[in-house]
């Protein structure tokens, strides 16, 4: 999905992992995904460059649908749909 489509999504929860380093954002995402329902959308905020690759890989393994990334000035917004 492109940035405009991502911005229109109905996000069930946003987890702010900015400032933490690997594997902080992953652990934050794992915890937050446990708090939403299947089919709902989670947004993860991270300032860790590696997260851009880690979260999509993690989604693949966990069978969540990775929707895309919005790059802000100093952080990333990653979107996924819970399996």
């Amino acid at each position: 999905m492109n940035a405009d489509e991502l911005k229109k999504l109905n996000v069930a929860q946003t987890v702010d992992a900015r400032g933490t380093s690997c594997p902080g954002p992953l652990l934050a995402a794992k915890k937050a995904v446990g708090e939403i329902e299947s089919g709902e959308i989670l947004e993860v905020l991270s300032s860790d460059e590696g997260t851009k690759n880690d979260i999509p890989k993690w989604c693949e393994k966990m069978e969540h649908e990775f929707l895309g990334i919005i790059e802000e000035d100093s952080y990333f917004r990653l979107f996924l749909k819970k399996a």
Binding site: T20, S21, C22, P23, G24, D54, M62
Partner: protein, 181 residues
């Protein structure tokens, strides 16, 4: 001809099923090193695996056992050699040395400073998260006795047990990922 194909397909299905059953989604690591950098790497990989719902079993032996010593606990009734070992080896995960650039403790102090600065979890926090995620720690009893450590000086950790090499071999043979640090 068709019958033959179906039979082969059935046979293949059975074999795939068996293979899948043999390889669990599990990470088994044998940790022998007790260096700060290697224990950090162990914990980071383990946490990432556990966050991905991979079962994690960590087998601590030899030098790695220093990381499991509780700084506040005291063991009694040790013989002379055990006492000497106990004195010379790091007492707990916060006293571990770096495998390179240790520089009489300046290296670890600098790494810990950088970790705080860059918001990397501390080893204490990593062990706490590991406990929450159900990461198992298995202590090699033979090497613990060899190093002169006693159970009463090992950290309190909810998923800790004692076993031997056969347990690691059995667990590793069923794991999709295994390695040695």
């Amino acid at each position: 001809m068709e019958e033959e194909m179906l039979k082969q397909l059935e046979d293949l299905k059975k074999r795939v099923g068996k293979l899948e059953k043999n390889r669990k989604d599990q990470l088994s690591i044998a940790i022998v090193s007790g260096d700060l950098d290697k224990i950090l790497a162990t914990m980071i990989i383990s946490l990432a695996a556990a966050a991905s719902d991979t079962k994690v079993k960590l087998f601590f032996s030899f030098w790695a056992l220093s990381a499991l010593r509780d700084q506040k606990k005291k063991a009694h009734g040790k013989d002379f050699i055990s006492k000497m070992f106990g004195l010379m080896l790091p007492k707990g995960r916060n006293k571990l040395k770096l495998s390179k650039m240790n520089m009489m403790g300046m290296g670890p102090a600098m790494i810990k400073f950088l970790m705080r600065k860059q918001n990397v979890m501390s080893l204490d926090e990593m062990f706490k998260q590991a406990a929450e995620l159900g990461i198992e720690i298995i202590v090699c009893e033979m090497s613990m006795n060899l190093m002169g450590f006693k159970k009463e000086e090992i950290i309190d950790y909810p998923h800790l047990s004692y076993a031997g090499a056969a347990t690691f071999v059995a667990e590793a043979s069923e794991s999709s990922i295994q390695f040695f640090i």
